[in-house]
């Protein structure tokens, strides 16, 4: 995820930003619908646009967009077809809707095809395998508990800042055994790797490069400390530095892999933590079911990940002329798999707009993608969310959302910048 999708300079012009917001999706010519505009995502108006395209143009061509022309794939089954056909739909050069225009790139297998993808992914996937994560569960639970115990009761506060960001950052620090007092640096590097210059995080590509140099230097220091320690430590850096396949990685590959682990595990989990609280407030009868039976948590976690869909899409590029659901796609054209739409496809998912904690087949969703690029950290994400929800339900009767959350200005990262809540403790 070293690219910056849907956030070109053009997109941030107000007239561009607002061109779809507030419009009736059924009153405009269908070819003018441009899902890449961040405005409808920030304003939470995207669902009817997705619905109309699913019904009337399930493989839809948008010729005019600030991001350049692209195809949108809207149906669950068509998305599966694209995601599982890497020989037709390539992940190169990038998985963001905007072709990378920045100088900063590090090798990262999310935007590579086989066989290179498979070789590089194999090197790091073991570190987030469930068998390796088991030993971290206790520490993650302890830190989640400490964050929750520190929250104010009965007064308004920002759940995103105090819980979602803090938990995700602490978990990253835990996984890397990163110096705990410096953990905010992980969040900064993660944000800096993907931010647009001038967007508030960094002001230029030079500044990004400085941040990445600092990141590499810090992780190199940690590597050197741990490579000389006795084997057997179960943090990710020790695993990489002692692992047969990883111990001779060149520096940029180390940086690329570290960044993929940091970025991949950062806002996705963060926004799913927030999204779960929001969903339970929107569907109070589901909150009741959960209160009555905490064993629903693992199923609910999958359902939250579907309902939230923390990454709205992944992009592919057609390698050859091809046809998809009746539409002719030419070699070189961009193809966007809208996971956020496939996860709302009522041909596959009943009552998709509802978050249902005991939904049957809740694991069958598109949020992790399918095929060779399927999310490598899926089990880590599920474990984190499960632990957080177990600890939340042990403490609070209700997390009450106050007002509307503020959403992120992006058609790629589907999430929240603030969400105010009031905590109601369990009657003891």
């Amino acid at each position: 995820m070293s690219d910056t999708p849907a956030t070109s300079e053009l997109d941030r012009r107000p007239e561009s930003k607002w061109s779809m917001v507030g419009k009736d999706p059924y009153a405009m010519p269908i070819d003018k619908i441009d899902l890449a505009h961040p405005g409808i995502w920030q304003e939470n108006e995207f669902l009817p646009f997705l619905k109309r395209l699913r019904e009337e143009a399930p493989v839809h061509y948008c010729a005019e967009s600030a991001t350049g022309p692209y195809w949108s794939v809207m149906k669950y089954k068509d998305i599966m077809t694209v995601d599982t056909s890497p020989h037709i739909y390539s992940s190169e050069p990038t998985i963001g809707i905007v072709d990378s225009f920045e100088e900063f790139t590090v090798p990262s297998f999310i935007s590579m095809d086989p066989p290179k993808h498979d070789e590089q992914r194999r090197v790091v996937q073991g570190v987030v395998a469930p068998s390796n994560l088991k030993s971290l569960e206790g520490l993650i639970r302890q830190r989640a508990a400490a964050i929750l115990d520190d929250l104010p009761i009965g007064e308004e506060f920002d759940w995103v800042e105090r819980v979602s960001i803090e938990l995700t950052t602490q978990m990253l620090a835990t996984l890397f055994d990163f110096p705990f007092e410096d953990r905010h640096k992980l969040t900064f590097w993660s944000d800096a790797a993907t931010a647009i210059p001038g967007g508030g995080i960094i002001s230029s590509n030079e500044e990004r490069w400085e941040a990445m140099q600092d990141c590499l230097a810090t992780f190199t220091r940690l590597w050197n400390e741990r490579v000389n320690a006795e084997p057997g430590n179960d943090d990710l850096i020790s695993m990489l530095s002692h692992g047969e396949a990883t111990k001779n990685m060149p520096p940029m590959e180390y940086l690329g892999n570290i960044l993929l682990l940091i970025v991949g595990g950062n806002d996705t989990t963060r926004n799913s933590i927030t999204g779960g609280v929001l969903a339970l407030n929107q569907f109070p009868e589901e909150y009741d079911k959960l209160r009555a039976d905490h064993s629903l948590i693992p199923n609910m976690v999958s359902e939250i990940i579907r309902w939230q869909t923390p990454l709205a899409y992944m992009r592919r590029t057609a390698k050859v002329d091809t046809e998809l659901n009746g539409q002719k796609i030419k070699k070189g054209e961009k193809v966007i798999m809208w996971y956020a739409s496939g996860n709302q496809d009522d041909e596959v998912i009943e009552n998709p707009e509802r978050m249902i904690v005991d939904r049957p087949n809740a694991r069958q969703h598109l949020s992790f993608g399918f095929g060779l690029h399927r999310c490598m950290g899926n089990r880590l994400a599920e474990m984190q969310l499960r632990i957080v929800w177990e600890e939340i339900m042990n403490r609070f009767d209700k997390i009450e959302v106050v007002g509307e959350p503020e959403r992120i200005y992006s058609s790629f990262v589907k999430g929240y910048s603030t969400m105010f809540v009031i905590l109601h403790p369990k009657a003891s």
Partner: protein, 106 residues
């Protein structure tokens, strides 16, 4: 109908009966066998129906295709006898098939 025996990593066993023509994954899911997630529903694209096939049965299975091979490559628990059981279709010849589920699915 043919019989399939599922063992989990801790040695617990569950025997199920299924019709020929269905996949081992479908036989597991429709009989509530734990340890098989099958997130993609049987299209060989999630590697969450991973099983270890008992040696005696390996020769009776159709050869692994490149796609299954690539998907199995996503699992760090892969062994010589690893298969994705959505890709094993039950036949009379496989009556009595015995497989073990890994402790964790990918």
């Amino acid at each position: 109908m043919v019989k399939v025996l599922f063992k989990d990593h801790a040695g617990r066993e569950q025997s199920v009966e299924a019709a020929t023509g269905v996949s081992v994954m479908q036989a597991a899911v429709s009989n509530g066998v734990s340890g098989i997630d099958a997130d993609c529903g049987g299209s060989c694209s999630c590697a969450t129906c991973h099983v270890y096939v008992d040696e005696a049965w390996l020769d009776k299975l159709a050869a692994i295709d490149p796609n299954e091979d690539a998907m199995l490559g996503l699992s760090s628990d892969r062994r010589e006898n690893s298969r994705l059981c959505c890709q094993i279709t039950l036949s009379a010849e496989l009556d009595g098939l015995s497989v073990t589920t890994p402790e964790f699915q990918f």
